[in-house]
């Protein structure tokens, strides 16, 4: 079935580009390895959890930075959590944005923090978009009757 082959190729190409451009790193590969017949939706579950969690965190961060007196410890705690969750699913660019964010938190630099928040948000939405596209491609392959190829 040609369609399946084409879709699979597109999927592989897209996946490779995500790794190449640094959107995802090795950790995501580890996640994929954990998916098998007993839990076929593991990656989707974890990633959805990540999306929910991140959106909450980003809102909390935005609110915390808009306070009259900014509690940098709280901001730092949120960023730490964001960094942790993004690094555990392999969202490398988001994690890097968090690292920079934490430096500004330490220096209590409000403008830097705001900039970093924007940057982290931007990166998060980019990776969210990419991952959603990835899952869509997966669904298309499965709908066409093929199997999702695994990147070695």
């Amino acid at each position: 079935m040609e369609i399946v082959g084409k879709l699979q190729n597109r999927f592989m190409e897209f996946m490779r580009s995500l790794y190449r451009e640094g959107f995802l790193d090795d950790q995501f590969l580890q996640l994929q390895k954990l998916q098998d017949e007993s839990n076929p939706d593991f990656v989707v579950e974890v990633v959805s959890l990540f999306f929910e969690d991140s959106e909450k965190l980003l809102n909390n961060l935005a609110m915390a930075l808009q306070q009259q007196v900014v509690d940098y410890k709280q901001v730092d705690a949120h960023v730490h959590q964001f960094k942790g969750s993004s690094s555990s699913i392999g969202a490398q660019r988001v994690k890097n944005a968090c690292v920079a964010f934490r430096n500004f938190c330490e220096e209590k630099n409000l403008e830097g923090c705001m900039q970093c928040l924007q940057h982290a948000k931007h990166e998060y939405f980019l990776v969210k978009n990419k991952l959603e596209t990835l899952f869509r491609l997966e669904q298309q392959i499965l709908a066409a009757g093929g199997t999702v190829p695994v990147l070695s």
Partner: protein, 736 residues
């Protein structure tokens, strides 16, 4: 009486008329004035409206201009992005050791610096208004300087000028890891180096950095800027950059890790006349004495000065010694060192050596512990045969600082003589002591005659030589030869002669070439290695590492070799490396097969407040066959463990086992991992068992952290996110 009234009424009448006329006249005058005023007002209004219009138009023009410029720069940035992408693509295609790859890397670096220039040109107005933010990041300052020198080296050589990176007193290698604005520092140094190249046609340019504790004097200078007179002049001349310095400076000073970095760019060019020295720092001024009428760099020393001020420092032209031509630019900036200063000072006091920089570099980057301070009796010796005098002096000083004997040679005949002398000394040392002394007198007589052209640290070391050689320890000699010193045949014959009569001695010869082509071509004997010029920084440490390798004498199986040396070694022992490769592959396969279901039946508790990490860790362990229980925070984990301990002690069968090990996150709400561990340990004592608790943390593992973990009672630690292989290794180690 009637006539009186008549007369008076006539007068009255006249007066009335007069009054009436006056009223009319004044009314008219009033109306005229009002008219005039109104006309003037209308005229003024019209003029005002016209003015406002033209101001708006001018503003609009400038806004559209900056918008157009921003759009253009956006396109330029895109263009750069495309170029960088394509270069990276090419880099992936090219073989990693070829000249193509290194040239591509240089192009890449140049593109990045061009992009940096573009950004700063856009922000030029921002810089002058003092609103330029410093982008602080961690980077390696020594590496940055190496890159800058490498970038400009070829341009300088084409002009016949040598560009030397002077390690100075070695303090830069200690404090190489810093936090600061990398791009700006690169721009400043690049600008100064380019200027130096422009204005120098012969001789050398040297770049030196020294690090010291910030002095109080600088603080005073900054304070003076705040004096009322300065404030007033500042207001008048609209120089706002100084204000910002004041804001930045106290913040930097408060940091105990803040160090003062003094940069010096020294050249032997045409120099700047004293009266013009102050003016060069004015924006966009150039002293028009360029040799080839090259275009300006675009930044100007004025912006360089503003950037230096932003980093809390000063830039000035320093007087050189009498008789030396050229210019010396000196500027100091304040950066935060990533290595805690107290640690460095303590170590230096302890070991009483200044080799910390080299040691730490070799340890961290090349994975080899260099002998901390090889005393002279170890018998290391370096012969430096370089054409360029300044570079020779600089390198010899740097190497002798590491307690290695250095001989400097500038010409071929001196080279031959030096090699002869070394050989004679070594021959003599093997013979008896008296003979040695007698001959020594002879040779020292010789050396006095010959020493006219060479500087030699040998003579001081002769008694040491005596000591070492009488012990029978061998010497290690590295001869570094510049390929420009002469034709290869002339260079190789004395080396061949030297190597012939060696006993008890190891000698390696390094050739320095301008371009190192693909390393598949080994250097012709007697040269053992080829390195690319310029010899500094990383490459210098590589060459010196050759010395330490003799000591370890595990040349064949040393896995930390660089690619270059592996290439050369391959010719000698082509069978060996392949064997090693095969071994590794087999090992990996073995490891992989044993990870499946190896944790079967083990009860594990995973404690982490983040659901994603919990899910990931538990899934990974389940895949290995373990029975996983999860907890959200320390309190819950504690309760679970305590309950399981109670069940175990109360239950009569073995099925109620407690957990085999616990993965504990450190920072959690309600109760932290440390607290939970402590409580668990207390409870464990009652039952007489010890559950291995592995700490999971996202922080970097420094000593403080390790102590913390040990304190709480945890056994091991891993960093997040969980690496299953590491966990597996750790668990296996516990079992056996």
């Amino acid at each position: 009486m009637g006539s009186n009234v008549l007369r008076q009424s006539a007068q009255a009448y006249l007066l009335l008329v007069f009054l009436f006329v006056i009223v009319v006249v004044s009314l008219c005058a009033f109306i005229i004035i009002v008219f005039k005023a109104a006309k003037r007002e209308m005229f003024l209004c019209a003029a005002l409206i016209k003015q406002v219009e033209s101001t708006n138009q001018a503003e609009r023009k400038s806004i559209t201009k900056s918008l157009a410029f921003a759009a253009a720069s956006h396109d330029i940035r895109n263009g750069f992005g495309i170029i960088t992408c394509l270069i990276n693509h090419c880099l992936n295609e090219a073989s990693p050791d070829s000249e193509t790859a290194s040239n591509l890397q240089l192009i890449n670096n140049e593109t990045t610096s061009l992009l940096g220039i573009l950004n700063s040109v856009l922000d030029a107005s921002k810089i002058e208004a003092g609103k330029m933010p410093l982008k602080v990041e961690e980077f390696d300052l020594a590496e940055l300087l190496e890159n800058i020198v490498d970038l400009h080296y070829h341009r300088a050589i084409e002009k016949g000028v040598d560009l030397v990176l002077d390690p100075g007193d070695g303090s830069l290698s200690t404090f190489r890891s810093v936090k600061g604005d990398k791009v700006k520092i690169m721009q400043i140094v690049s600008n100064l180096v380019t200027n130096a190249i422009k204005f120098t046609s012969e001789g050398h340019i040297s770049v030196k950095v020294s690090v010291s504790k910030p002095s109080k004097d600088n603080a005073l200078i900054v304070c003076n800027r705040h004096s009322p007179l300065n404030c007033l002049t500042r207001l008048c001349t609209k120089q706002k950059c100084c204000c910002n310095t004041l804001n930045e400076f106290p913040a930097i000073q408060k940091n105990p890790n803040c160090m003062e970095f003094t940069f010096e760019v020294d050249d032997t060019g045409v120099g700047i006349p004293k009266d013009k020295q102050k003016h060069v720092f004015e924006n966009f001024v150039q002293v028009k004495e360029t040799t080839y009428g090259e275009e300006g760099y675009g930044l100007g020393l004025g912006i360089v000065q503003s950037m230096v001020h932003l980093m809390g420092g000063e830039i000035k032209i320093v007087d050189k010694e009498d008789g030396e031509r050229g210019t010396r630019f000196q500027f100091n900036i304040f950066l935060t060192s990533c290595v805690p200063v107290s640690v460095v000072e303590a170590e230096e006091q302890e070991t009483n050596t200044q080799n910390h920089g080299l040691r730490s570099y070799l340890y961290h980057h090349l994975g080899l512990p260099f002998r901390s301070s090889p005393s002279r009796s170890e018998g290391y010796h370096v012969v430096l045969f370089l054409v360029e005098e300044k570079r020779r002096k600089v390198l010899s000083r740097a190497i002798s600082k590491m307690n290695i004997k250095v001989s400097e040679v500038g010409k071929i005949n001196e080279f031959v003589q030096t090699l002869d002398r070394i050989k004679r000394k070594l021959d003599l040392s093997s013979s008896s002591l008296e003979k040695f002394e007698v001959n020594l007198n002879l040779t020292s007589g010789d050396t006095n005659e010959v020493a006219s052209g060479t500087k030699d640290t040998h003579d001081q070391a002769i008694p040491h030589c005596k000591r070492s050689n009488s012990n029978g320890s061998s010497n290690f000699i590295i001869i570094i030869i510049d390929s420009q010193a002469g034709p290869l045949s002339e260079l190789s014959s004395p080396v061949v002669n030297f190597k012939k009569d060696l006993q008890n001695l190891s000698c390696k010869v390094v050739l320095l070439q301008d371009h190192v082509s693909s390393s598949s071509q080994p250097p012709l004997p007697p040269f053992d290695y080829v390195f690319q010029k310029p010899l500094h920084g990383k490459r210098l440490y590589e060459v010196l590492r050759l010395l330490s390798e003799y000591r370890n004498s595990s040349i064949q199986h040393d896995r930390t070799k660089t690619d270059q040396e592996i290439e050369f070694q391959e010719l000698d022992s082509d069978a060996l490396p392949k064997c090693q490769l095969e071994e590794i592959v087999i090992n990996d396969c073995n490891k992989r097969s044993s990870t499946s279901k190896d944790f079967k039946g083990k009860k594990v508790l995973v404690v982490d407040d983040q659901p994603i990490l919990r899910m990931y860790a538990s899934k990974s362990l389940q895949k290995l066959g373990a029975d996983v229980d999860v907890s959200e925070n320390g309190k819950d984990a504690c309760d679970k463990v305590l309950k399981s301990l109670k069940d175990m002690s109360e239950g009569y069968d073995d099925s109620n086992r407690t957990y085999d090990f616990i993965l504990m996150d450190c920072e959690m709400p309600v109760m932290s991992g440390y607290e939970a561990t402590r409580l668990i340990r207390v409870e464990e004592k009652k039952h007489g068992i010890h559950i291995p608790i592995i700490a999971l943390t996202a922080h970097t593992m420094d000593d403080e952290m390790k102590l913390h973990i040990k304190d709480a009672g945890m056994d091991f630690h891993l960093t997040k996110p969980l690496n299953v292989q590491q966990l597996y290794d750790l668990i296996n180690n516990i079992q056996f």
